[in-house]
Amino acid sequence: MAGAILTVKNLNVAFDGEEVIKDLTFEVQERETLIILGPNGAGKTTLLRTLIGLNPYSGEIFWNTRRINYLPPQELVQRKGLLPLSVGEFFGFKKVSSEKVSNIFLDVGLDPSLLRRRFGAVSTGQFQRMLIAWALVDQPKVLLFDEPTSGIDIGGQETIYSLLHRFWRDWDLTILLVTHDLNVVWEHASNVLCLNKKSVCYGEPREVITPKTLEEIYGTGIKFYEHKHK
């Protein structure tokens, strides 16, 4: 029976005296997909980084596993002006067998011959799949993704989310994901955490995503249409 894999109580994060996250409490169960939604500056990236110990905080964060991998937004991963590094050598930083690397490449829909290519000398879509492969190759239990489709076109975005969904289903993963995209919330989220420095809503999307909560998150002027189709 799945239990809580992450428990957060009264989390506060401040930088230079400015509160970025205030009194946040929530729990994530195993095999859950929690989507963190909010406007720019809401503290979504800060939350993910704090959960893996990259920021100082007050309050409690308890993980029931150490097998956690994190991917920052793609635009924060350097692709140019680097050492002459091959994709294979990038995966070598993980200290896993070459067989595992080849297998994960096939799983994410990439040709293993890409391992010989220069790191960064791949398309944006391939680069994001490669980062996802990197996050998965050592078989974590939890994945933290910060805007995994930034810089990718709409078709590519759907592919990335379908890929993540497949791994979530087949590998019994727990996923925490930051996005601006409400479609992703409806299609993939077990629960949604709406953030604007503090928790605005938390729960199942159908229950908590209402025009009122969206207005509270994003401010006035939000129109909300639910498109029903087969």
Partner: protein
């Protein structure tokens, strides 16, 4: 003994230099060499080993650069300019004129057995430490968050890396002086960069070209008796120019 130093010190410097390019610290290497000048000056005046004089000043200079960076948020390149210019100015207030040349471009006559042994051991240590932190620093260069998420101690590695630079600069002043130590690290790395398609090739070719530059400089010195520091740097620059024709 000079050849032994060339192999170890030149190689370690070139290997470390390959990491400097990725950390965008190639421009910092020159000023760090200049920071050694007050220490070299003191060593020449009071007749002790120039490396012993150089090392504490490099460390002091790195400390001040770090301190100013923490408090001013100015870029490191600007702060390095402030610190090294001040160091050079202070040096020329008390350095005797006849000691200027050995201070700036080195003096191979200073090399004796204890200096050689010390250089070999410390260069070997720098190589091993750099090898240990190399993959972690390469990953941090791609994304510091990715590295920290892998539980890599980025601050500790950065400190070890700066310490290695300080050691190589302090050791290098014996043969190339305070003016040219940067070239020991930066030029072989640039040569290796032109000829490499992956990290393993790049790092070990940096070692190779670092050693080769020093050996070629010493060979020419034997026949010409010109100052060895500039000869090493010119040899390194020629190798870099040749590498442009074989760029990969």
């Amino acid at each position: 003994m000079a050849v032994i130093i060339a192999l170890f010190l030149g190689g370690a410097a070139g290997y470390l230099g390959t990491l400097m390019l990725s950390q965008r610290m190639a421009l910092v290497a020159g000023p760090l060499g200049h920071l050694t000048l007050p220490g070299i000056a003191l060593a020449l005046i009071f007749h002790f080993d120039v490396s012993l004089g150089a090392f504490p000043f490099v460390i002091l200079g790195v400390f001040f650069i770090w301190l100013f960076e923490m408090n001013t948020k100015l870029p490191m390149e600007a702060l390095t300019a402030v610190v090294f210019a001040t160091g050079v100015a202070i040096t020329f207030l008390f350095l005797p004129e006849e000691k200027t040349v050995p201070a700036l471009i080195g003096d191979i006559s200073q090399i004796n057995f204890p200096a050689t042994l010390g250089s070999v051991i410390l260069s070997g240590g720098v190589f091993l430490v750099t090898k240990r932190i190399y993959p972690e620093m390469a990953l941090a260069g791609i994304s510091e968050d990715l590295a920290k998420a892998q539980r890599i101690n980025v601050k500790r590695n950065h400190f070890l890396y700066l310490l290695c630079i300080a050691l190589i600069v302090a050791l290098g002043v014996r043969i190339v002086g305070g003016l040219l130590t940067a070239a020991l690290m930066a030029i072989p790395a640039c040569t290796a960069r032109n000829l490499s398609v992956n990290l393993v090739q790049y790092s070990y070719r940096g070692f190779f070209f670092g050693s080769l530059s020093c050996i070629l400089g010493m060979v020419v010195f034997q026949f010409t008796n010109l100052p060895i520091g500039p000869l090493i740097v010119i040899a390194s620059a020629i190798l870099f120019l040749i590498s442009l024709f074989f760029r990969r």
